[in-house]
Each structure stands twice: as C-alpha cells, then as structure tokens.
C-alpha cells in the first residue's frame, strides 16, 4: 500500500469509500458533550468546525512565525510574508483562478460583497440603472447593493422563486436589460439548500455583457468550485464555513475588472507612493488590502484548503447528498413536519417547520438532546415572507456528519412533538 495515495477518511486503501466516521476524529470540537450528551452538530451552514491541522497551523504561526507582512527585511517578516502569499496561491488553485493577484483577502463573504458593491457598483451604477439579485439571497447579498443603489438612484430587481425554492429562469431573462449593470446570485441558498444553475445564468448574463458576482458562502465546503469554468466575474466566500478560521475570506475577481476598480479602503500596504497631493495605488491584489491583514487567518485558510485537498471531494458531496436525502425522507414521514425548500438540486441544508411549534422552541428542545441546529430566519427574511412563515429550523451537514447524526435529529424532532402534545 502506497501511503501517499491514501486519501484521508479512507484509511483502508482497498475500500475506495469516503468514511465520515474516520474524518470525525480530525475535528477536536466534535467530541465535546452538551447537557451530558455527545454533540450532534448540524449547524454547518452557520459555521463548520476546524480540523486539528488548521488549529495547529494557527498556533504554529503565532508561536514561531509571527510578524507583519510586506514590511520587513528581517527573517520573521519574510517568513510571514511567504506563508501569507503561499495561502493566496492555495486559494488560487482551490478556485482555479488564472492568477493569484485575482485573490483578495477580506474578512468574509460579507466584506467581499461590500467591496464589489462599493468599488465596482459604486463606479458603474448611474441613476436609472439596475442590479439583479434573487429572492433567496442572504441579507449580505441584498443590503450592500441596496446601499449603493440608494446612493446613485439605481434599483434592485429580484428574480422570483417557485414554491419548491427554485429561481424562475424565464423571469431572470426578462429582468435583464441594457440598464442592468451587475447580477449578484447565491451559488447555494443557506435557507433552502437550493443549488442554483449559476453556470447557465452567468452565460445568459454574459450574452448581454453583464458581469456576475456569485456568493459562494455555502458552496465551497460541498464540492469543487472552478471560477474559470463558471466564468463568473466575482466569487466571494468565507473561510469559516469551509473548516478554516473566522475573520478571513476571499473575493475573487477577474483581473481586468479588479484593475479597473478604485480601492475600497485607504491605508497602509495599498499604495505605491503617497504625498499630500497624490497617491499612487499598489498593484493587485494589494490595492484592495489596506492595513495589516488577518495573517494567521489566511494561513489557517490555507491549511483548511490543504485539508480539503486530501479528501475525495466527489465522495464527500455524494455522502452529504445521501444524508440530506435520508433526513428529507425521514422528516417527510413524520406527521406535522414540512420541509421548506424542495428544489430538485439541493445541497447541505434541510429547513423544516413543525405544525404548532415555533422553530425557536424546536431549537431549545433539540439542544437538550445535544443537537445543534439553527432556528430563525437565517438572514433571509424575504425567503420567510415568501413562504409565509416566521422562521424555520435548519439542519445543515458537513463532511463529518454521519447517518447516526441524522437518526438522532429525527428522534429529537419526535421528542419535540412529544413535549408539545
């Protein structure tokens, strides 16, 4: 057996199946207990846990490599700079971007979208123009556009959804016109789990020469993302939803777009020369990275990408789909339980409601059983309004979840119903 070809989670190379039971042990936080019971963590769409290798990379940075980047000739500063830039190259390969200078480190998806909205939207949008988003966007892909639109007198157009939680493609085409300056779409909905046909939608927008931003927050942990294949103009994601640390994320942008855009914030590191009469901005990517970045975060994200890189991601995606299907089937069989979001193509997320029981109460009771789900509006109030519900309970899976987690949740839902009847 050649150990270098053995994928993580597939300890026995003769069995080419991905084994979530084995990867679990890579995540220290999965072994905590809640209310005396083993944690059943099904809130991965909010944030995932971190493998030991990510935690170690961060500890190693602060213990042995800590220094500022791009500023010193001394040993540690050079080391920190090298590691930081190496992470950028890891992200480049992870997304299959053409160049590493197309990778801008930001705080997360939210900051990435705000950067694009302010810098790109703020430059190209004029009074009477429009931005096209969808009815299933996270607030972070609504509000930043609203802010720029309000400032310049542009409007937001919203692609509607059907009762299954799928975008209406004919409506999308109808919304696009010569005043549409950008389309901003989520890859996978955090509230419904819908996987949008973004590649086709990007092509449709490009046929009309309209650039497209993709919110990849929910996509990066669940399968392969290739920005060249998608041909998206911007792609934003958060490290913490793909096994990396919080406080760091990425905005990918096509080079010619990023080069045409003004800086988002001013400060150190983003300039070539400064005088009181004129400042020359630095080249990409530094033009968009004012101030000391989250160096340890970027290094942690690099370690998370390494971790994912060792896994058979196609098998991970299959495994997760099976869990989502099993959970959907089991919940559908329970009287009084409704699944919200029944798109044909779904990933990661199962949102549900129980007759007569508010999601907040569901969450509290499940927590007594050690089960972590998210309850509420999931920063997607327009989705809740569309379905005419105040909130949902949402279970979301990651590669380390098992069939037992799903069984525990289903037993938990029965328990909830028992408490209330």
């Amino acid at each position: 057996m050649n150990s270098t070809t053995v994928k993580k989670g597939v300890r026995d190379a003769t069995v080419s199946r991905f084994d979530p039971g084995t990867v679990r042990s890579d995540f220290p936080a999965l072994s905590v207990t809640v209310k005396g019971k083993p944690l059943v963590y099904l809130d991965n769409a909010a944030t995932t846990h971190k493998p030991a290798s990510v935690i170690e990379a961060i500890t190693q940075f602060y213990s042995a490599e800590n220094s500022n980047v791009h500023r010193g000739v001394h040993h540690l500063s050079e080391l920190a700079t090298e590691k930081f830039e190496e992470s950028r190259r890891k992200v480049q390969r992870f997304l299959n971007a053409t160049e590493s200078s197309e990778i801008i480190f930001v705080r997360g998806t939210t900051e990435g979208i705000n950067l694009a909205a302010q810098s790109y939207g703020g430059t190209v949008l004029r009074n009477g123009d429009n931005v096209v988003i969808s009815a299933m966007e996270h607030h972070s892909n609504i509000v930043p556009w609203q802010i720029v639109c309000d400032r310049v007198g542009a409007s937001l157009r919203v692609i509607p959804i059907n009762r299954k939680g799928e975008l209406l493609q004919e409506e999308f085409e109808r919304l696009l016109d010569e005043r549409t300056k950008i389309v901003a779409l989520t890859h996978i909905s955090n509230a419904l789990g819908t996987v949008n046909p973004v590649q086709e939608m990007i092509r449709t927008a490009h046929d009309r020469k309209i650039p497209v931003l993709i919110d990849g927050a929910q996509a990066v942990a669940h399968g392969h993302v290739d920005v060249q294949e998608l041909d998206c103009d911007f792609y934003a994601f958060s490290s913490h939803k793909m096994f990396g640390p919080t406080g760091i994320g990425v905005l990918y942008g096509k080079k010619e777009l990023l080069e045409s855009m003004p800086p988002y914030q001013g400060g150190g590191d983003m300039i070539k020369s400064v005088s009181f009469s004129k400042t020359m901005y630095a080249d990409l990517p530094h033009k968009f990275e004012a101030g000391t970045p989250h160096i340890a975060g970027a290094i942690g994200l690099g370690a998370a990408i390494d971790y994912i890189g060792e896994l058979a991601m196609e098998e991970v995606a299959l495994h997760e789909r099976r869990l989502v299907q099993d959970l959907t089937d089991a919940l559908t069989d329970l009287p009084g339980v409704q699944i919200i979001g029944t798109a044909t193509n779904k990933a990661g997320v199962v949102s549900f409601t129980i007759d007569g029981i508010h999601p907040h109460d569901i969450g509290t009771i499940l927590n007594e059983d050690g089960i972590a789900v998210r309850t509420g509006q999931h920063c997607a109030q327009p989705v809740m309004d569309f379905f005419g519900i105040p909130a949902t309970a949402r279970a979301s899976v990651a590669l380390y979840n098992t069939t037992k987690d799903i069984q525990d949740l289903v037993a938990g839902v029965r328990h909830v119903q028992k408490v209330f009847h």
Binding site: H358, H360, G376
Partner: protein, 150 residues
C-alpha cells in the same frame, strides 16, 4: 428532561395553544408593536387606558411558545391594574426571568407568572419571555409605536 419541563410548564403550553385576550382591540388608545429581529417574534399590544387604569388589554402576533404564553399571561394579570401597578409587575417579572430561580422569586406573590421561573435557566430565551412586557412598558410610558429587543 426535568430542565425542559421547568421551561415548558403546563401553563405555558396551555397559553401557547389557547392564548387569552388574543386579537385586535378596536377601541384601544395605545397600540405598540414589539419585535425581536433575531428570531422574528412580533407582537402588537393593544391597551385601553382610562384614568391611569388598564381597562382593556389584548395582543396579536406570532412567535415562540415562551413569548406567546408570556404575552397571554401578561394580559390576564394586568387587566384592571393601574399604571404604577403594571410597572411593578414588570419589575417583578423581569427579576424572575433574569435571576437564577429561587433567588428573588416569591412564588406566592407571583401567581401564574411563577410558571416562567424556569426561563432563567435558558439565557437565550429571556428575550422571548420579556418581549411583550418590554412592549407593554413602552406603551405605558409613551405613545411610541414600536419596541425592538435589539
């Protein structure tokens, strides 16, 4: 399970299922909306205040069992009370749900409200229990029309 039973007491489950004084009060002279943006709970409290006395009180809206039962029990407790009495009840209730049970809770004087003592063990649910009460306080104090817990 025992923790859960202390939170979801029979009185609470009953008021959640069959809320009292639920609906719109047509001749209200104070109307205030309470909203918790974190979970989306939203209630409207209607008061008919005359000579500093709560002659009528009703509520409408949606939310979890704790917030709905709390609003319902509140209306039953406060009908006929004077404004200073209602404010005193607010203080009592607030102390009950924010202090570890037993410390300040004077079961006998609290009556039905004592059912909410278990809430103090669930810090994430305190806002649910107090939403209607905070709205009420706003309505008593002024003619403001909305109260948010954030």
């Amino acid at each position: 399970m025992s923790d859960l039973r202390s939170l979801y007491q029979e009185i609470i489950l009953d008021h959640n299922k069959n809320p009292r004084n639920f609906g719109v009060l047509d001749d209200a002279n104070r109307v205030i909306e309470g909203y918790n943006p974190l979970c989306g709970d939203r209630y409207t409290i209607y008061l008919k205040l005359e000579d500093d006395v709560i002659q009528e009180i009703k509520f409408s809206g949606v939310g979890c069992a704790i917030s709905k039962a709390s609003a319902s029990v509140m209306t039953t407790v406060l009908k006929g009370k004077t404004v200073p009495e209602a404010e005193a009840w607010f203080e009592k209730f607030h102390a009950l749900v924010t202090h570890p049970s037993g410390e300040d809770a004077d079961g006998a004087s609290l009556g039905k409200l004592a059912a909410f003592a278990g809430v103090s063990e669930f810090p994430a649910r305190v806002k649910c229990a107090t939403l209607a009460w905070h709205s009420l306080k706003g309505a008593l104090r002024s003619s403001a029309t909305s109260v948010s817990t954030e």
